[in-house]
Amino acid sequence: MNTPGKLHPLSQTIRTLSQIFVDMGFEIANGPHIEDQWHNFDALNVPKNHPARDMQDTFFIKGDTDKVLRTHTSSVQIRFMEDYIKSGKKLPLKIISPGMVFRQEATDRTHEAQFYQLEGLVVGEGISLAHLKGTLEQFLNQYYGRPIEFRFRPGYFPFVEPGIEIDLKFGDMWLEVLGAGMVHPNVLENVGIDSKKYSGFAFGVGIDRLTMMKYNIEDIRVMYQGDLKLHDALYSENLKNN
């Protein structure tokens, strides 16, 4: 009877990504947007007064110097691992944490103060960079519906060692799309996991960026205007109505 309404395009991307990882046996984890500095920084091996903290411009909560708006969903991974170990559960664990994150930076066509990120984490005995490669290969092939060429380059994030940047190939162009690496032993120890016995990989990807790449959206700001013209402008042929 009714013409169906439409999901926000970011919701559709989150669904697609979530389904792929659910099929691969991952759990979906959530956490608070307002975080303490332990979960957002310290536990993730980002020490105070370290240039690495400059990499992420942070919103601080007024009246509580310990509280920030999370700058990544890595904080969710810390909370998940803490609870997991405290409740005595056995490794391995495989989780993704999609969610909104915040950066205190001027907005432009490719930057918003709020955006969505999906991070993945696998911890177990003998987890290696090869597992990261295999997992991303499976994920990317599923997401794009075809084998997609990608490459690992050295990267730096304080919470991983080694740190990796991942480029995807579209035509002749390599685009930097994911950040990843092997979980830094300090991070594992911070949540009570024996880093001598266990290792893990983590990766992160911008959901807004994937969505923009998929539909050729050039300005991230159209996502958050509360304007249905966004939904209306997404269609497959040159239809005059839809």
């Binding site: 395009p9 919701s11 960079l129 290969e137 539909y215 509360g226 249905l228 497959s236």
Partner: protein, 634 residues
């Protein structure tokens, strides 16, 4: 950091390949590549040195060492030479360090009877190639050696220094005039270089005018030092002066590179100036850096990288990297080169092995052997189940900004004063945008505007995920078709209760209903297919949204033959219109063998506001094509 190919070449005995090739190798193994700029006789490679390599690679020598490891090319030694006629003097500079934690090493040396003038062309070219302005031979030499070797260097006019050089914390209320001309009040946390009468420089950040090198300077004192990264960072940020020097100190450099840097700057100055005599070096180095040895287990390397390297493979890689390694059974004792402050734990060494060996050589492996029983995330389940229910009934989803003018929770550093609060409800924005979109009903061809948002709100009590559903009818026909807004919202409320087997506590606010997602939890054990339903096809693309207003015109017509709605629409579309954007059928009936159709036509341009005559021209084309196809315009 900008790398001139010519400058980099000066570090090698081997002829280097093209800038593109150098950049490709560095990007795949070491740094991020920002771009390459080709010039007449040089090429500039813009690399982004990752923070962990800022200790050693914010310098040509660091990048050259890295490139030598990757290619096996031979590095040149002895790149700096004294002028033939140099004389030496026994004079020394007296240096006192008051704070050993903040000044880690301080080398000073006087050079006498220099002539401050223009730099030689090669030196100007080098500095200008990386965007540095040439100032004079003394300043240029110190900049050159900093970029070349990574240790910032400061030069004072020796005649303007009274008594000893003291490295101390600033006194409260003390002031200094920067080389930039700015007068700055110092804090006790600042480290300064002072003489007996005042402050000469803000350590590691910026020099002062007191002992500035000018055209008339005859004797100079060269400072090659190492300062505490945190001190430099705090001061540089407090006085808001970020320099190439403070950047290097903030990231931390090894105190061990100071000797070579002092030797090199001295040689360069005597070579290009030339100076009459050079004096003894005063080296104050209270706590020399200790050599670090990191122990790495062989199987740890393979376990983390997912490789199966042999002992020989690993030893060969260590040799390429120029590390001193002692092999002891299954373990390697790696002596860390002093400039590699980033290498502290086994994983750091394993990363080195991975990068040099090449990440492309790592195989892909699946996680089949890792059994894990994931739980179902109730929020995800509820959220997506609601989305399916609502979209099926014609409701579309918003995502609005978290930042609003006023909230119970506010930010200490908002981007703007009207974005300092975190939203405390969803309905304010949803109702505002409901109305905004309702004004565009004609554009969407809607007889009602139906929207929802599922998102988070923030209060002193914490964060809550809520759902806000809102609807606005367009006139009485919509009331008849859907029921009043309130009736629709109450019906949804009932459906949600039935769907989740619960009673949500719903609040009605104007044209909206709001409830907490947690009201809907009922402990499901399967996502079923809630994540699979989609609104946009795989090949959907974004079509730009015009910022210009749209115009609508209605057209009614009789069709004689058994023309269907889509036939008529195709005929309209076939008209060679310029601005027709959308076509909506809003009425259709049959009478005496004829069918009447009424369409609403939306016109819009991406480039301008349309005039009546522009739309009229399109309407004439549409009328004509319809008449040509046997329709009668009513």
């Amino acid at each position: 950091m900008l790398i001139s190919r010519n400058w980099l070449q000066s570090h090698f005995t081997t002829e280097l390949p093209s800038a593109e090739k150098i950049a490709e190798t560095l990007m795949m193994h070491s740094f991020e590549l920002e771009g390459i700029e080709l010039k007449d006789t040089d090429a500039i490679i813009d690399i982004d040195v990752l923070p962990n390599r800022a200790h050693d690679c914010l310098s040509y020598v660091g990048v050259a060492r890295e490139y030598a490891v990757l290619t096996g090319y031979t590095l040149k030694t002895d790149r700096y030479h004294y002028h033939d006629t140099i004389t030496r003097s026994e004079t020394t500079v007296s240096v006192n360090i008051e704070n050993n934690n903040q000044c880690l090493r301080y080398l000073a040396r006087q050079i006498s009877n220099v002539e401050v003038k223009e730099s030689p062309q090669w030196l100007k070219d080098r500095l200008e190639s990386i965007g540095q302005r040439s100032i004079n031979n003394i300043v240029d030499a110190s900049n050159y050696v900093m970029f070349d070797l990574g240790n910032p260097i400061h030069i004072f006019d020796a005649e303007k220094v009274t008594g000893d050089i003291t490295v101390r914390n600033a006194q409260s209320g003390e002031r200094m005039r920067m080389l930039t001309g700015e007068d700055v009040e110092l804090a006790e946390t600042d480290l300064v270089i002072a003489d007996d009468t005042g402050v000469l420089a803000l350590a590691g950040v910026k020099g002062g005018t007191k002992a500035e090198v000018t055209a008339t300077t005859k004797n100079i004192i060269i400072e090659v030092a190492n300062f505490n990264p945190a001190t430099t960072r705090t001061t540089a940020r407090r006085v808001k002066i970020l320099t190439d020097s403070s950047k290097r100190y903030e990231n931390g450099i090894s105190s061990e590179i100071a000797t070579e840097s002092m030797e090199s700057i001295s040689r360069l100055i005597t070579d290009i100036i030339p100076a009459e005599s050079i004096c003894q070096i005063t080296d104050t180095y209270p706590n020399p850096e200790l050599v670090t040895v990191v122990e790495v287990q062989h199987d740890h390397i393979n376990r983390l990288l997912g490789l199966s390297l042999s002992h020989d493979d690993v030893e060969n890689l260590f040799e390429r990297m120029n590390y001193q390694v002692h092999t002891d059974g299954q373990k390697y004792l790696v002596t860390i080169p002093f400039n590699r402050l980033d290498l502290k734990i086994p994983e750091d060494i394993i990363e080195e092995i991975g990068r040099i060996y090449g990440y492309h050589n790592i195989p892909a492996q699946n996680l089949d052997n890792y059994e894990f029983s994931p739980s179902i995330n109730q929020t995800v389940y509820v959220e997506n189940t609601l989305k399916d229910l609502l979209t099926a009934q014609g409701f579309s989803e918003f995502k609005n900004y978290t930042f609003v003018k006023k909230g119970s929770i506010e930010l200490a550093n908002p981007l703007a004063t009207d974005k300092r609060g975190l939203r405390k409800n969803l309905y304010t924005q949803v109702l505002e945008n409901l109305e905004k979109n309702h004004h565009n009903s004609d554009y969407f061809g809607n007889d009602r505007t139906a929207v929802f948002e599922i998102g988070r709100i923030y209060s002193k009590d914490g964060e809550i995920d809520q759902c806000c559903i809102a609807v606005m009818n367009k006139g009485k026909t919509a009331n008849k078709k859907y029921g009043t807004e309130r009736v629709q919202l109450e019906s949804l409320n009932k459906q949600i209760n039935e769907l989740f087997g619960t009673t949500i506590s719903a609040n009605y606010e104007k044209n909206s209903v709001i409830f907490n997602l947690s009201d809907c939890f009922n402990d499901v054990s399967d996502y079923a297919d809630i994540l699979r339903k989609q609104s946009y096809s795989e090949n959907a693309r974004f079509h730009s949204i015009s910022p210009f207003p749209y115009t609508t015109r209605d057209i009614s017509l009789w069709a004689y033959s058994a023309g269907t709605e889509s036939d008529i629409q195709l005929i309209i579309e076939s008209a060679d219109t310029e601005f027709l954007k959308k076509i909506f059928l809003f009425d259709q009936f049959e009478k005496e063998g004829r069918v009447s159709f009424a369409y609403s036509l939306v016109f819009q341009s991406d480039d301008e506001t349309l005039t009546d005559s522009q739309v009229d021209a399109d309407m004439q084309k549409i009328t004509k094509v319809l008449e040509d196809n046997g329709c009668e315009i009513r």
